[in-house]
């Protein structure tokens, strides 16, 4: 199937939205704005996935990231009441540094991608997409999946360790 104008317009709207809200994440003053922009960026990204016919990934992105993780962020941000952070001004140096890193990257990305013809469109999604992913995860990709489990365990231990009240000087319950 060829690329229609509608597909083109949808793609660029979603892409521009994703980039703009990602910029808001770093440029926003209030942490609440930043967290909400991050959620927006995720949702735009999910839209792009839908366009690629990766429906399952898109749904997961909305459910897990925009739905659960970002809402958790928002809770924490609102509970912590980060006024000092909201007042902080971002210097021009930070902007320049950001441009210096992102500019060449964007240019390199453009030069790499632009010559490629977009023809063909995405491959059709398999009818049993979820089963397909699930089967791959628990057969071929079982080792990375299990390592991810270790990763989450370590992260949980670390979160408990670093957030437990009492600090490092607290010896309660420790030999």
């Amino acid at each position: 199937m060829g690329e229609t104008f509608l597909e083109w317009a949808v793609f660029w709207t979603l892409a521009a939205g994703a980039v703009a809200s990602a910029l808001m994440v770093v440029a926003g003053r209030s942490p609440v704005t930043c967290a909400l922009s991050l959620a927006c960026s995720m949702i735009f990204g999910a839209g792009l996935m839908v366009q690629m016919r990766a429906y399952f990934i898109a749904a997961i992105q909305v459910l897990v990231y925009a739905g659960a993780v970002i809402v958790l962020f928002l809770f924490i941000v609102m509970l912590m009441d980060l006024k000092a952070e909201a007042m902080r001004r971002r210097g021009g140096v930070a902007l320049l540094a950001g441009l210096a890193v992102c500019g060449p990257l964007a240019l390199a990305g453009w030069r790499a991608m632009a010559p490629l013809s977009g023809g063909g469109g995405p491959p059709p999604a398999p009818p049993d997409e979820v089963q397909h992913i699930g089967r791959l995860l628990f057969t071929d990709y079982v080792l990375p999946l299990e390592i991810t489990g270790v990763l989450l365990l370590v992260a949980m231990v670390g979160a408990v360790l670093l957030c437990r009240p009492g600090g490092a000087g607290d010896q309660e319950g420790r030999p």
Partner: protein
């Protein structure tokens, strides 16, 4: 224990290993048992958890040294059990062993009693082992993330201390950036080759680079190399290293300096002699430039440092540069030199950091002036420190000298004479800053009210053994080099 023994011994034969024979599984189990046992176990275990951990690391190291033989893979090629991974796994276990031995001494205050402090290095070693054995980019990415997350926790464990927390946050931000580069690079490579498997990519990458996906492949390779550059702290991706080395508890600094750096090089070698094998000639100049930049930034940056931990951070960047020279050489001799250099660096850096870890609370700090008159207070320790620093500086007959010699020779044979000249500048500069603490130790007088330095026997033994290794590796490298050559034969 039984599982541990069987895993270590059985993981030696056959072409496809059953999944339960991979040693990481046993290490993971031991780490979990230590973690749970240290929290809820009997009092006798809880008070000795660091000792138990060190003993288990020692046992695993012995098994790894005497019972492992290469050959085979598991999980359908996702896990590779070859000579390269075995060599590096031994190095990781060695780093974990020495780090947990240093924790026995618990010089860093109450934090050292925390069971997580003792158990988390096990998880880090598991992650490193998987990185060294990765046969697929998915395995590489998740195990690298496991390692970095474990490292963040270990670095910022003393969260009451500002520098520790600062180190943790800086490491977190830099690690996040590097992970972003890695995953983007992997995505680009997947897009152009259609596979994440190392063996399949090795076949498809040269064709993809030559075709009209060429620029995409180039961008992908660049991103992955940047991420590896972060991991090994090569300039210009080195900013985090001095702060992290300074802020972390000393045993963790040693662990990061030795094992984490080795893990980065394991990945680099695995990639360049695996999926990127066909395009190694394209990447070699980039590695050479990274090497030159790291040598200059590390060694010149170290010149003005007055804190020993920070100095080790900068000099670690310089050593990453020397190691990259061996990689840039692109020859079998270069790879062998890299492995030898890593072992020599590990031994010498652990002598210096181990002594520092044992003494830091008695000396009052890790600044150079705190070492004043150490030779008069404790001549034996001062000489140990001298040997460690001399090996790092590359003075004969120590391991550091031979390592540098082999790396330089490999680079010279590969036609990188300019790089050898740059490295020569680095070595001359490093002599200055490695000998500065020696001046403090031997030619300054100790502070008048200096308390006696008590260092228990196990600790002295540990550091003395390390020093012995530095000398033996330098004088009689024959058996060691033979092992390296045998294990890397199929690379």
């Amino acid at each position: 224990m039984i599982v541990g023994l069987s895993c270590g011994m059985l993981a030696s034969s056959g072409c496809t290993m059953p999944w339960w024979q991979i040693p990481e599984l046993c290490w993971l189990l031991l780490g979990t048992v230590l973690l749970l046992g240290g929290c809820w176990g009997p009092e006798t275990l809880r008070s000795r958890v660091a000792g138990v951990s060190a003993a288990l690391f020692g046992l695993m190291l012995v098994l790894a040294l005497f019972f492992w033989a290469p050959g085979g893979e598991a999980f359908g090629g996702f896990y590779r059990w070859d000579g390269l991974s075995i060599l590096f796994k031994r190095l990781f276990l060695f780093g974990g062993f020495i780090a947990s031995w240093m924790m026995l001494r618990s010089p860093d205050g109450p934090v050292a009693h925390r069971v997580e402090y003792v158990a988390l290095p096990w998880f880090a070693v598991v992650a490193m082992g998987l990185m060294a054995s990765a046969g697929d980019f998915a395995v590489l990415f998740v195990s690298l993330e496991t390692l970095t997350i474990t490292s963040y926790i270990l670095v910022s464990m003393e969260r009451d201390r500002g520098t520790s927390l600062e180190a943790g946050v800086k490491y977190l931000v830099m690690g996040g950036l590097s992970a972003a580069f890695l995953v983007y690079g992997i995505a680009l490579l997947y897009g152009s080759c259609g596979t994440l498997r190392f063996d399949e990519m090795a076949g498809r990458l040269p064709g993809a680079l030559a075709g009209d996906m060429g620029p995409v492949v180039r961008a992908g390779l660049l991103c992955v190399m940047v991420a590896v550059g972060f991991k090994v702290a090569a300039a210009p991706f080195q900013w985090w290293a001095p702060d992290v080395y300074q802020g972390a508890p000393v045993p963790i600094t040693g662990f990061l300096a030795v094992a984490s750096k080795a893990a980065g090089f394991a990945v680099l070698l695995r990639l360049l002699w695996g999926p990127f094998g066909g395009v190694r000639d394209t990447l070699a100049p980039m590695v050479a430039w990274l090497a030159a930049a790291s040598i200059l930034v590390g060694n010149l940056g170290a010149l003005s440092q007055r804190n020993l931990k920070r100095l080790m951070g900068y000099s670690g960047i310089g050593h990453a540069g020397y190691l990259l020279m061996g990689v840039a050489a692109g020859s079998a001799a270069g790879v062998e030199a890299v492995v030898y250099y890593l072992a020599g660096y590990a031994v010498a850096a652990l002598v210096v950091l181990g002594l520092l870890g044992g003494l830091v609370d008695r000396l009052g700090g890790a600044e150079m002036r705190h070492l004043n008159g150490l030779a008069k207070r404790e001549p034996g320790l001062a000489w140990l420190m001298l040997v460690g620093l001399a090996s790092l500086a590359g003075l004969p007959p120590l391991a550091g000298f031979l390592g540098k010699w082999m790396v330089f020779a490999a680079a010279f044979q590969a036609g990188l004479a300019w790089l050898v000249i740059v490295a020569g500048v680095g070595v001359v500069a490093s002599l200055y800053y490695y000998l500065a603490p020696v001046r403090n130790m031997f030619f300054e007088s100790p502070p008048p009210d200096a308390p006696p330095l008590e260092l228990d026997l196990p600790f002295r033994t540990c550091v003395s053994i390390l020093m012995g290794l530095a000398i033996i590796l330098g004088i009689a490298p024959g058996p060691f080099m033979a092992t390296i050559g045998r294990l890397l034969a199929g690379l």
